[in-house]
Amino acid sequence: MVRRPLLEFEKPLVELEDQIEQIRQLAKDSEVDVSQQLLQLETLAARRREEIFNSLTPAQKIQVARHPQRPSTLDYIQVITDEWFELHGDRRGSDDQALVGGIGRIGDRGVVLIGHQKGRDTKENVARNFGMASPGGYRKALRLMEHADRFRLPILCFIDTPGAYAGVLAEEQGQGEAIAVNLREMFSLRVPVIATVIGEGGSGGALGIGVADRLLMFEHSVYTVASPEACASILWRDAAKAPAAAAALRITANDLLQLGVIDAVLSEPSGGNHWAPLQAAETLQAALLQQLQDLGELSEAELLEQRYAKFRRMGRILDPEATEFSPNP
């Protein structure tokens, strides 16, 4: 497969890969043994890839997180489930294509799976609204989560959205209300909820399915309070300052682990998840199974209490009246 060089910093890697491919073709047509050279080149390519991806800037991570070939919610679901039925509709008159959900089997248990869905190409992206969910999407998600609650099925959420859809119709249909109700009701779910940021976590649109017992993040994913572009144009009065905003906002998985926002970072194959999607899916599946097992040991009361306490701790304040600096993870 020939990959298109989509990101600037991926270009040297793609060039190396093409070289390797060329030499392979040459070797096929001739008697010359090039296995030594091939091995050398491959080692070099792997090392370069490692170097580049270990030192990505926050702005570059956004590019990886938004990569059109990065595995999406439905890609992962296909690999990590043995059975899967997509379920449709919010029962209020819509079936949002940007936020999908359904029921499936992972390992030996039934689960409800919900996630933002971006498109692979322009046509699919138009149908999926670039993964920007409408109020109907959040209401469908809530309907499925309540279903999971009634039938005691754990909930797995996959976050991958630039943000909730900002449009006239979305406002008319109550985008704010739809997200708000999800935030509140997710605190009452009596089943384990595990959310994973697989690509881009865009603000309230991400949080709308993100009130979870465990929040995981792939290494090159990002999670932002506001898109760096918007942040730059508001605070810097200059949208071109987006890279600076991306760095200042602390949006990477490691930053958020330090800040106590997320629980674990899932490592990605060298070159990012789009270089080895199956390996990424395996990592995800193993992590989800482990978390499901851990959370499965808690009683409903413990689960609810711990979820509340988890979010209760978030934030950094100075409280002169408290005996200690609080609350802090």
């Binding site: 509140r184 309230g204 979010f311 002169p320």
Partner: protein, 291 residues
């Protein structure tokens, strides 16, 4: 078009545009309405809850004035007023967050963008949180989230009704994801308040947007709003520019939200106290018997 029509048209100019032009109370004896140009004695304006007697324009008021409008005189007792913000990201844009905080604290006399406490309203108990737009646009960071969460938790423990007066541009970017998480934190506390079948009424004032709209502003058992207040999730500029959609007339006003089913009552500020007292009584809230 007659001259009167022209003036009438101008008055319909979008509230968003108006907000930026609004002149806040200075020290003068007289005040001119930015909406209709009526000049009134400042004391009279304040006595009328800062509502213009000429055109009913609701002037923006700070948290102190808002508490005077709602609470029985002298009944408000603040809680957690010493909580102060930190700079967890060491954030710096054109200025550092630490500098911005210090300057805003000095100019407003507030520690952060919300004042919380308990009060009486016509003798009825009420837990009250009031956001203050003067403090960095009423933006919600860790302190706003923590103070509101503690307020909701206390209201739940005291089995009291709760009102939060919203005035906010949304989550505070300078505290990054910690700000976003406050939306969840407060919503979780509201879920527990609701579970106890206690009454929560947010009042949406100009402007209520972003992460505040997508959390506690929209979670009321009843949702009240002030006339013509701007209320929305996404910013108008974002919708207009990125999506090239033309905005309908009156888009994202309190009236527009009511028309679409997201606001119960639009209450003029001059009737806020009496309306709220009636609603509390109708929900069975009664004055405690003196010990």
């Amino acid at each position: 078009m007659s001259l009167f029509d022209w003036f009438a048209d101008r008055r319909k100019v979008n509230p968003v545009v108006r907000a930026t032009q609004e002149v806040e109370d200075g020290d003068g004896l007289w005040s001119k309405c930015p909406e209709c140009g009526l000049v009134v004695y400042r004391k009279d304006l304040i006595a009328n809850a800062s509502v213009c007697s000429g055109c009913s324009h609701h002037h923006r008021i700070d948290s102190e004035a808002r508490i005077r409008v709602i609470a029985d005189e002298g009944s408000f007792s603040p809680i957690n007023s010493a909580l102060a913000p930190t700079d967890p990201l060491a954030f710096k844009d054109r200025r550092s967050y630490a500098d911005r905080l210090r300057d805003t604290q000095q100019s407003t006399g507030l520690r952060d963008a919300v004042v919380t406490g308990h009060c009486r309203l016509e003798g009825l108990p009420l837990s009250l949180g009031v956001m203050d737009f003067r403090f960095m646009g009423g933006s919600m960071g860790s302190v706003v989230g923590e103070k509101l969460t503690r307020l909701v938790e206390e209201a739940t423990a005291l089995r009291q009704p709760l009102m939060i007066v919203c005035a906010s541009g949304g989550a505070r970017m300078q505290e990054g994801m910690l700000s976003l998480m406050q939306m969840a934190k407060i919503s979780g506390a509201l879920q527990r308040h609701r579970q106890q079948e206690l009454l929560y009424i947010p009042l949406l004032t100009h402007p209520t947007t972003g992460g505040v709209t997508a959390s506690f502003a929209m979670l009321g058992d009843l949702i009240l709003a002030e006339p013509k207040a701007l209320i929305g999730f996404a910013g108008r500029r974002v919708i207009e520019q990125t999506l090239r959609e033309k905005l309908p007339e009156g888009f994202q006003t309190a009236e527009y939200l009511q028309e679409h089913g997201f606001v119960d009552l639009i209450v003029p500020r001059t009737r806020l106290r009496s309306t709220l007292a009636s609603l509390l009584r109708l929900h069975g809230v009664s004055a405690p018997v003196a010990a």
